[in-house]
Every structure is written in C-alpha cells, then in structure tokens.
Symmetry: none
Subunit: 416 residues, 2 copies
C-alpha cells in the first residue's frame, strides 16, 4: 500500500514580498495529515505565467494530489484559471451552475453583478465546479492522467469552507486508506541535545514505522512520535507502548502529552490543585503575568501581580526591606525571597512567584551580568530561590525568564 502524496501551491506576489503570511498552506497541511495524506512539498510562486505553469509540471511529477490556492479573483492579475485551461489544453466555457451560484450571492447581498463577476463563472471544460459558499470565485476539481488537481480561492475562509464541505470528503472517497497517528510529548527545562542523549537507546530501538521528531521552541522541546500504516488502532497501540518505555527516562522534564504550551499546562495544574498564584515581577516586566492570563479562565487561579520595576515600588508595594535592597541589590536571592513571600501574602494567594534579573542590554556588571535572573517560589510551607544565566538578548531574557518561572511552579506543584 502506498501513501497518497500531496503538494500545495500558493500563488501570489503578496506572499513572496512578505506582505501576506501564508496561513492557508499550513491549514491545508494539517487537514490532509488528519486523513492520512502526506504533503511532500509546499511552494509559493509569483503571479507570472511561466512560473505558475512550471510549478504545475513539477508538482504533477511528484504528487498524486495537487492543491492550488490563489489567483482566482476577477482582476487581470489573477492567472490561475486560464493557466489551468492552458495546462490541460481545454477551453474556458460558461458553467451555468456556477453562474447561478454567483447570481444568488449578489441577490442575497443586494448588490449589482458586474461583467467581471459573470466571467468568474467561465471554467475550464474538463473540471468539476466546487461551490464557493462565501465568495464569487468557484473552486475547480480536475482528474487528469491519474492525478487530482484542485484549485481554490486564496481567501482563507472561502478556501476552508470548500475543503471542509467538498474537497476533504471527496478525497477520502476516492483515495485508499492509509493512516498517520501522532503523539506529542511536551518537555521543558532540558535542551534538545541533552534530551537526545538521554533517550538515544530508546530512539534507536524504535520500530521502523515509528518516527521521532524534536521540535524546540523557546525553552520547551516538543517530541513528536509519528506512526503510519494501514490500521489506526494498531498504530495507536504501538505508540502507546513506546511512550510507556520513554516516560521513565525523562519523567521530570515532561509537562504534558497534548499540544499545548507551558502556561496552559500550569493553568490545568493549578485548577486541579485548587490553588491560586500571585506574581512579583521585576525584569520580566509583566510578561509572566501575560503568559498566565493569556489562557481563558485564568481568573480562577490568578490573583494578580505587582510589577516592581523600581526599587521604590519593590519597597512600597511589596515591603522588600530597603536595607536588603541596598546590601544585596535588587537582583539577589534575598530580594526574590521577600518578593515571592510578600506578594503571596499581600495578594492572599496560595503560591507566590518572583523574578528579578538583568534583562539588558544595559545594567550588567561583572558580578551580575546581563542574562542573570533570580527566581523565587513561595507557598505556605517553604520559600526558595534559584538563579539561572540566560542570554545577552533582552527579549529572549524576558521570554525565557517568564517560562522558567512557570517551570519552577510546575516542579514545586508536582512535588506535592
């Protein structure tokens, strides 16, 4: 059994100039992956006849299914439809059904149809029309020389509706069943290379039809196991067995098995433990609180925070001793301990988290360089501090620092 291979072609200068971010091909990839079709190439080509035709030829050689978005508008810089007719050597003919669809759209919107809109109902003679529920450009389905070509508008919601209503079901009907199953393992606090060393033996012993990928972002590394084959239940079982073997090797770094970031996971943990948190941030300037509150429903466990950017605010709002600030400096174990404990008490939370460091680019000294960050954690039983060295980059220090604080929360909560 051979897996069906697909290729996605996005047409449009605006993507190549960096003005429009192509989210269409990302969405289509995910949708095809769900039904076991493997995307082997994505291309973006300009609104130039020769480039578009070449991309059709190249794709037809490699893939079974070619999905094309863009270039279907009513203006003359839209080339996809005439080029598909040219590519297959057929004429454009008026499609009465497509014309009815367009007329209906205009009637509903109480707008007058132009000649340009009428011409949108002319389609290559060899295609099946795909109804566009949300716009004037019909989609097209071609089956030629054993390959399927599909052309869709570039407007994301029009494309998605066509995919969901028509294209996905028809692909499923026409193509042989072949399944792909993924499993995520979310880790934090360990770099990709160290993780790879820890699990090397396990990885090398993986059965052939299971593949492992390392996907690092900020200070989390997502492991993805992908299994492919004819029977979905067998694949699930195979993955499950491997995850059971993997778990004990990296237990303390794993924070979840679902696609989801550390702030989402922390939210789940706090809700389950029925605990609330409050933060005292200095160098991260609100980013820790922002991560926590980016999760819907976070008001159930987040009390609030004090962003104590100046020493004055650390003293006035968080009761940090002036003496301690003078003796040890704002970036110190003593200060984050007071910040974590006091913010917990003042905001009446179960847990207090604190951060104070040198974000940079200025303000570093030999003893306390840019990238040095102290963290505090406090609950009713204990208050602890940890320090880490991050980078020279201000934004990275802010982002890594805030996530490190969440990891500290995770570790201390899971110890209970």
């Amino acid at each position: 059994m051979k897996q069906t291979l697909a290729e996605i072609i996005s047409i449009g200068d605006e993507i190549l100039y960096g003005q429009t971010l192509d989210t269409n091909s990302h969405w289509i990839s995910g949708a095809l992956d769900q039904i076991g079709i493997k995307v082997i190439r994505k291309s973006t080509v300009p609104d130039i006849e020769a480039e578009i035709l070449t991309s059709f030829q190249e794709a037809e050689k490699r893939a079974d299914v070619i999905l094309i978005t863009g270039g279907l508008g009513p203006t003359k810089d839209d080339l996809t439809k005439p080029l598909l007719a040219k590519y297959f050597g057929v004429d454009l003919v008026m499609n009465q059904d497509a014309l009815n669809d367009i007329e209906q759209l205009f009637t509903k919107a109480n707008r007058k149809m132009t000649d340009l809109n009428r011409m949108q109902a002319e389609l290559p003679a060899n295609c099946d029309k795909i109804t566009n529920q949300l716009g004037t450009a019909p989609g097209m389905w071609f089956k030629e020389r054993g390959k399927i070509f599909v052309s869709m508008p570039g407007v994301p919601y029009e494309m998605k509706r066509m995919m969901t209503d028509f294209i996905i079901p028809r692909l499923q009907k026409e193509l042989v069943n072949y399944h792909v199953v993924h499993q995520m393992i979310m880790t934090i606090g360990i770099p990709e290379s160290s993780l790879a060393e820890k699990i090397r033996d396990w990885e090398e012993a993986l059965p052939k039809h299971l593949k492992l990928a390392y996907l690092p972002t900020k200070n989390t590394v997502k492991l993805r196991i992908t299994a492919s084959g004819p029977d979905r239940d067998v694949l699930k079982k195979d993955i499950h067995e491997q995850v059971d073997k993997l778990k004990p090797l990296i237990e303390k770094y794993v924070f979840g098995f679902d696609e989801g970031n550390i702030e989402y996971f922390i939210g789940k943990m706090l809700k389950e433990a029925n605990k609330t948190v409050a933060c005292a941030e200095s160098c991260t300037g609100g980013f820790l609180s922002h991560l926590i509150t980016s999760i819907p429903g976070s008001s159930a466990y987040f009390k609030g925070a004090v962003i104590a950017y100046s020493n004055e605010v650390k003293h006035n709002m968080l009761n940090v001793d002036t003496e301690t600030l003078e003796k040890h400096g704002a970036v110190s174990e003593e200060v984050v301990i007071q910040m974590a404990k006091n913010v917990r008490e003042k905001l009446n939370a179960d847990v207090g988290l604190s951060i104070s460091g040198v974000a940079g680019p200025d303000g570093g000294t030999e003893e306390k360089p840019v990238g040095l960050i102290w963290f505090g954690y406090s609950d009713k039983e204990k208050t602890i501090a940890k320090k880490y060295n991050f980078s020279k980059d201000r934004i990275l220090n802010i982002e890594f620092g805030a996530r490190k604080a969440l990891d500290l929360l995770r570790i201390n909560l899971s110890e209970k």
Copy 2:
C-alpha cells in the same frame, strides 16, 4: 541593471504536517524586499534526502541567492548540513572557530557540552561560518558557480539574529547595483480603509517609481513608501517631497516615521518629557506593562504596575472602593478612574494608566459584552476615562487593548 532574485527553502516535516506555521520565510521575504532583492519562489520540503537535494538544484537554476532554513539541529533527523556538503562535493571538517563559539555558549550557561554539540561545529569545507549568537548550530555561507547559498537554523530568533547581524549586510555588500529606499509612516487609531480615503488623491498623484503599501498590524497601520532606481540620493529626495505633502492630511494619526512600534515611540516621548508612568491592569493581565518594558532603557520612565485581576487585589493594592466595585462592577468608568489615579499616587509616578474590560471568551453580559474595555488616564491635572468595544477574541482584546492605552497616553502627552 538586473534585480537580484532569491529563493527560500524551508526544510522540515513539521511544516508539511501542519504542526508548525512557517513564519520564517515570511520574515525573510520582508527583509529581502527591504534591500531590493526579489523573492521568486518559496518551497517547503520534507526531511528526506532526495527531496532536499532536488530543491537545491531547482533553486540554483532560478535564483541568484538561495536561503535555506531548518534541519541544522544536533539530532539525526537534521539533514541539511551533510546534504549541502554532498551537493557541493566537499567533506565536513571541524571548524575551530565554530567550536569556540559553541564552547563559549556552554561555558556561559554553565552547562556541559555533549558530543552531539561538538559535531555541530563540523562544517562543509567550502563554506564561511556564520556565528549563531543564540544557539549551537552555526549558519553557513556558500559562494559557488556564481550563486550564493545560505543555510540557517529554523529557530526563528536564531535565524533573525543571523540575518540582521551578518547576512543582510553581506548581501548588500556583494550585490549593490540597484537601490530600493523605503520610508515608513506609522499611524494609530484609524482603520486602513478610512486612511486610504483620506489620502486617495495624494496616492493617485504619486510618481511611477514610488509605490505605497498599507501594512496593518493590530491597531496601527504602517504606510510604506518604496522608491526604486539607480540613484539612492534622488530616491531619498523624491520620497521626502511626497512625505511633506502627505503629513498635513493625516497629522493626528501619525506617531512616527521610523520602523518602530507605539511602545518605542511612547518611550521616546516620556523620556523627552522627563515623565514616569505606572499602570493598573485588569483584563490585559500584564501585557501593557510588557509592551512598555520590552523597550531597552524603559526603567528610566516605567515605575511599575499592579495587575489587579481580582476585585480583592483592586481593593487591597489599589484602594478601589468596595462600594464602587459592587455598585458599578469592575468594568466601569468609576473603577478605571480610581485605578489610574491611585496607581499614579501609590507608585509615585507622573502618569497613571488603567485598563479594565471583558477579555473573553467568558464573562460577557448583555450590558457588558466580551470586548468592552474601559481605559483610565491620570496626571496631576486631570483624570479621564474612555471606553471602546473590541472583538470576541481574547488574545486580540488583550493586544488591541494594551496598544489603545498607549495611544491614550500619546494623545494626552502630546496635548501638553
């Protein structure tokens, strides 16, 4: 004079599976556009040897510059480096300079280097190393058969830093012959379509070699004038003339002429006015403070903030009357007035900003729907409140809301 053509190749199964959205090639497109290099194709290929090699061959035929991202990690699913060596028919050799870079990174972070990391310093014999300031995988610069190949990590911040520090300057040095000059006009508080109406006559009268782009992001719209031709000084003069004509048409919406966001601009204003600010945030949960403190040197004008997510914290930390909270609710004119005034006084700042709204997705009522946000501004002379309705989307409400508060600050500061 021929314009330089570029092609971007992104390598990685995770993009083709729809798990990672490829923002790298979008960012690179924009960066190349800035220096007058035209992207004629973007491709994403899987972690499969034959597919990657084919993409190199195809790109070399079409483009002068080929920029490759991804596949440089330390693990064995990362194929780019050995394949580049194979493509150019050279060996991988230990690059002492790259090894020093990596060792330094590990020393600084106080971490132990693994053999896998050491192997990352082995590079194809024919390339120039590109320093990776933020990670262990060096970049590579090849010049072969009159074409430039550049290989970069897929981690966005590592790639961006390499582009900014090394690749863009070197491309400019090697490829100068055709100039592109851009001028930004940053606006806030007016939608793209209204802006377009206000400046339509001016836009239609623009000389042929000047082009205008509308680049909306969140609640700012960036206008970009691009001039291209052989003489940089002439282009600058032409743009200057047009900006002088444009200014009076949209004066009150323009906040700057440099690439720079509203938070950067606000920082400049506050420093020039020698004023400090403090914030009281509810629904934006720290994002306003994060925007302000994302600017280096913001400690000169940002005192700090109280993130008062619960009513309890609004009362305890910001002295908002319990009675007012009960009578008018947390999302009300009365509450944001007290929050702005009290945070200014308690944190001893010149200006207080406050935000309280319904971020969603839950918590909306008929009277106070999701997307309703109240803003407060307070200085020694006055305290005012404004309300706006944003969207149904939590993240957009947080981001638009925080930037709206900065716009309120801008308007009130510029009235002085």
